[in-house]
Symmetry: C2
Subunit: 302 residues, 2 copies
Amino acid sequence: MHSLVVHGGTGAIPANLPEAQRTAYAAGIGSALDAAFDLLERGGSSLDAVTTAVRILEDDALFNAGRGAALSSEGVAELDAAIMDGRDRRAGSVAGVRHIKNPIDLARLVMEQTRHVMLIGQGAEELAIEAGLPLISNHYFRTDERRRQLEAEQQGRSVSELVPAAHGTVGAVAFDQMGNLAAATSTGGMANKRPGRVGDTPIIGAGTYAKNGVCAVSCTGHGEYFIRCAAAHHIVAAVEYRGMTLQQAAQELLEREIGKFGGYGGLIAIDAHGQIVMEFSTSGMFRGARDSNGLRTIGITR
Amino acid sequence: MHSLVVHGGTGAIPANLPEAQRTAYAAGIGSALDAAFDLLERGGSSLDAVTTAVRILEDDALFNAGRGAALSSEGVAELDAAIMDGRDRRAGSVAGVRHIKNPIDLARLVMEQTRHVMLIGQGAEELAIEAGLPLISNHYFRTDERRRQLEAEQQGRSVSELVPAAHGTVGAVAFDQMGNLAAATSTGGMANKRPGRVGDTPIIGAGTYAKNGVCAVSCTGHGEYFIRCAAAHHIVAAVEYRGMTLQQAAQELLEREIGKFGGYGGLIAIDAHGQIVMEFSTSGMFRGARDSNGLRTIGITR
């Protein structure tokens, strides 16, 4: 048994999203899903699968991560990412990087080549330079859509028609043939955020968590609420210690924890047996799932 | 009933710590403890009490937070802090600030005056400037002891005789007369850390967490392990959902979670009834506790 689930963000996705956009988003999700699943099929690790899926979504300008990231109030892309290995709960994360084409690769480098878990800002970029990762101009990340979105946000206009899932995130969770879980998440964060704002994505226990024998989780949504609820770890603890199924734990988090505070969002997760869960409390979540029993599904709205 | 507990870091504290040092550390802990407890006595909030205690410990050059912070590999002080309000689980945190005399005040400002939970680096310092917090030269934080410690670390020499609890942290947890819990933590992080490294202190759910009706927690120790275990939230979940006492949860975390990975550290916490817990898996932890039943205790080693 092996399985993979990816998301491309959640939010106010209009039910009448034009067909051309729907097709483009589905193609983006599908290409990350299939490339990473092929890797699992060939016996690759869950860690490599989630890295691959997130890297592809970072490179796709439609999604709020890597190229096409939401812009800060100063018009700059500030990127966050995290990865966690369910085998030994090693983890790596970066926040506030501005010149790293694929922040998920740098998060993995933090995990594998330093004695630290989290590096931020210029310190994180120093590691990239030492490791020979190419640095890239911040202009690479800024698309016309994101500039228009920022302008609309700053003028108080609605943005959901400009950019569906405006405050999105991308993420992936995988269960490989060895039975190992891994999770990865990457984002440009909230549009019009204060420079330096960090959401739940790079916070181990909030946006990202993985523990073999229990489950792995990648969250998306209004990050501040996910931090306050320690969302990803809340789910892991609910499955491990409260006898909940992963599905029940996901619903409980969104309704009774995040929802109680007035927050919204979604998450993808896989349990210890490879079973996939995709839950969201918004009108939609860009998502896709595959498993070795032949499941292949891509969804946008409910 | 009201109660307060503070810590000034954990680590390899020599059993034969010279009497003069022992007295100085105990005086530092005592002064934070008494000032913040007086505030609780007069009906003040747990939030104000933990802010006050941490601010006093930040100002005391003996402890690794604010003035006297451990220095990065480049000899710079990079400061992290977090605060959490048990009433509604609002939280604020900052990481990688270099010019803020009292990082705990800035963390509280993030909680109370922005729509965000976490701000890092220059973005966090921008908020300080807007709010009129004075910025201060990084030289203010750097003491001769910390320079000698950094030199010793970089030469691979033992540092425990130079600076007890070398990789310390400061923190406070309070339970006020209204029955509200709060927690706060502040640190200069690990000596000789890579610039940009963030430990568990400013990670809500790792180094700091507070939830009314359950418990509030402030951790100290080898931060990377506390992040990987989502330490503070692990304890909250154990008390809320696993029927453990706070004492049992604290011991389980240090032995079976942090300890299993080869990590070490300690924590202070208060449960829903105001009962204080202080646990550590190292040779010592600078600590002090007071409650309205007349308890007043200050400890260093076991």
